[in-house]
């Protein structure tokens, strides 16, 4: 029983790491109804910028601030160059644009900082900590706390302020949003900047775990099942989806692994997501499509 709890808790904490990445997708999906293919590149770009500054002797917080400013500048540039000319185009057009954007961001990252692998030390020990008889990773606890603070900040921003309702309005109907005086450009800029910030946080934690390298942009693949289960439009859903994925993949690995062979962790989330697609395509918290027949 104790062992079960330990696996479960470890899985839940690891799942929040996936949630961190998934939240970035949710933000942009909420604002434009588009799956932002470039989110992974933004995670990579921010981590790479941060670690490269750090390696050049820039202090931690200065590096953090400079990287954050870079991500805001990136959001500004994306809004100007990519989104503004595509106002009122169908979502598939925007999706294709983000696809192209991901290559550009990765290319720029490589041109600026090179392609080698960097180690990132955030000063958080990965040594296990004993809590209530369970051994838990300090690093996982730290990232879980970070995810919690981030969600709190985002829910204040999007549920309590007019930005939230404007965001949903923009996603629903751009023309109508313009007609009631919502500044489309400003909303997009805010959302992409916040998504950049979330990408930075995710990039630092994942970078510290896996090393900062180009394959970092692939962590988005694990965010996909999280989004499918939690729903593309809900930040809470991204958290719950992450917890479900994290817990179930670890439990499956430990309890099913010996029976049907190891390495389940790698594919189990996708099977789970597939099952969810059959039963509840909008995810647990996603907005179900309303259609009058």
């Amino acid at each position: 029983m104790e062992f079960f709890l330990e696996v479960l808790t470890g899985g839940l904490l690891a799942g929040l790491m996936y949630s961190l990445v998934a939240i970035g997708f949710v933000l942009i999906y909420k604002a434009s109804g588009v799956f932002n293919f470039a989110q992974g590149s933004m995670v990579l770009f921010s981590a790479l910028t941060f670690v490269s500054l750090l390696e050049r002797g820039v202090p931690f917080w200065v590096s953090f601030a400079v990287t954050l400013l870079t991500m805001i500048a990136l959001a500004w540039a994306i809004e100007r160059v990519v989104l503004r000319p595509l106002v009122n185009r169908p979502p598939i057009t925007l999706f294709m644009a983000t696809l192209g954007l991901s290559y550009i961001i990765e290319g720029v990252a490589q041109a600026m900082w090179g392609a080698q692998v960097h180690g990132l030390e955030l000063g958080i020990s990965d040594a296990p900590l004993e809590i209530g008889g369970m051994l838990l990773s300090q690093f996982d606890l730290f990232s879980a706390a970070t995810a919690g603070i981030l969600v709190l900040f985002l829910s204040l921003l999007f549920n309590k302020t007019r930005i939230g309702i404007s965001l949903r309005a923009v996603a629903d109907d751009q023309l109508a949003a313009l007609a009631v005086g919502i500044k489309l450009q400003r909303i997009w800029m805010i959302v992409w900047a916040v998504a950049g910030f979330v990408g930075l946080v995710a990039g630092l934690l994942w970078g510290a775990r896996l090393g900062v390298q180009f394959s970092l942009s692939l962590v988005v693949l694990k965010a996909l099942p999280v989004l499918i289960i939690g729903g593309f439009t809900s930040i809470g859903g991204a958290i719950v989806g992450g917890l479900i994925i994290g817990a179930s993949e670890k439990l499956a690995e430990v309890y099913l692994g010996p029976i049907i062979g190891g390495g389940i962790e790698n594919w189990f989330p996708y099977v789970l997501a597939l099952l969810f697609l059959l039963v509840r395509p909008a995810g647990i918290f996603g907005e179900r499509a309303i259609e009058r027949v």
């Binding site: 204040l156 921003l157 309590k160 302020t161 007019r162 930005i163 309702i165 404007s166 949903r168 309005a169 629903d172 109907d173 023309l175 109508a176 949003a177 313009l178 007609a179 009631v180 005086g181 919502i182 500044k183 907005e287 309303i290 259609e291 009058r292």
Partner: protein
């Protein structure tokens, strides 16, 4: 009627990739009047509304609004100046409730900053109460109370049209642009919508420019009728004057083409 007109279009022309949609159109709309734009499909009526509220920028001409002149209007600027509108194919926020939709119309009236709103400090509370009150007033006015918490996408068409009007009215506009507010409605719904438009004009003194195909409704509702055909103005006057004009009869009955 006020001394200066609220809206004054001067020689507006608009084309799309060389195809002329509007050619050299001028007319004025007085404060507080209901002005109808009529004409066959493709006459340029919707394009003209889009020019007025800044969705399209005209190639030539000036838009005078409330004493100011604009070579081109931006959507946001139009909203700030007090121009609100509804769309031909309802453009509501379908996933949100009726109340939330109406509240988006209050967007520009919000005074508190997002920091105040997030932490419920400063002006946030008073602001929130004010916006809700106004939204509720409009909801009462258009009698959509019983659906206030319904998700808009689930409501029948006629009601959605009314919610769209509510959202436009929530911004307390000086000029209300209605693009076929009665399209697809039966006679009863049409007379209901006409009554709401008249009430709006009387109660709030709102100036209205509307596009409508039902000539019976137009003649009963409007103070002023402008007739378009092939992007040109072919008639302009009171309903009675326009009814007798040979050009208008030609455009409508198709004797010349």
């Amino acid at each position: 009627m006020g001394a200066t007109p609220l809206l004054e279009l001067q020689r507006i022309s608009l084309s799309f990739k060389g195809v002329k949609a509007i050619t050299d159109i001028s007319f004025t709309v007085e404060q507080g009047e209901i002005c109808a734009l009529i004409g066959p499909n493709g006459a340029g009526k919707s394009s003209l509304l889009n020019v007025i509220n800044g969705v399209y920028q005209p190639d030539q001409g000036l838009i005078g609004f409330n004493g100011q002149r604009y070579q081109k209007m931006q959507s946001h600027q139009a909203a700030v100046q007090g121009i609100a509108r509804t769309f031909q194919n309802i453009a509501l926020f379908k996933g949100m409730s009726v109340l939330d939709n109406v509240l988006t119309g209050r967007n520009l009236k919000v005074k508190s900053s997002w920091i105040e709103q997030a932490f419920h400090i400063g002006r946030a509370l008073a602001d929130e109460i004010k916006q809700r009150q106004k939204a509720e007033e409009i909801i009462d006015f258009l009698r959509i109370n019983q659906w206030r918490n319904s998700i808009v996408g689930t409501l029948p068409y006629g009601l959605q049209k009314r919610v769209e009007l509510a959202r436009a009215l929530a911004s307390e506009p000086r000029l209300l642009l209605l693009d076929e507010p009665m399209a697809g409605m039966n006679r009863e719904e049409k007379s209901e919508m006409s009554a709401f438009i008249l009430d709006t004009q009387r109660e709030f003194g709102t100036t209205v420019v509307l596009i409508e195909h039902d000539i019976g409704v137009v003649m009963g509702l409007s103070d002023h009728v402008v007739v378009l055909d092939y992007g040109k103005k072919v008639g302009d006057g009171t309903p009675d004057e326009v009814r007798k004009s040979p050009e208008v009869i030609a455009a409508y009955l198709g004797t010349t083409h």
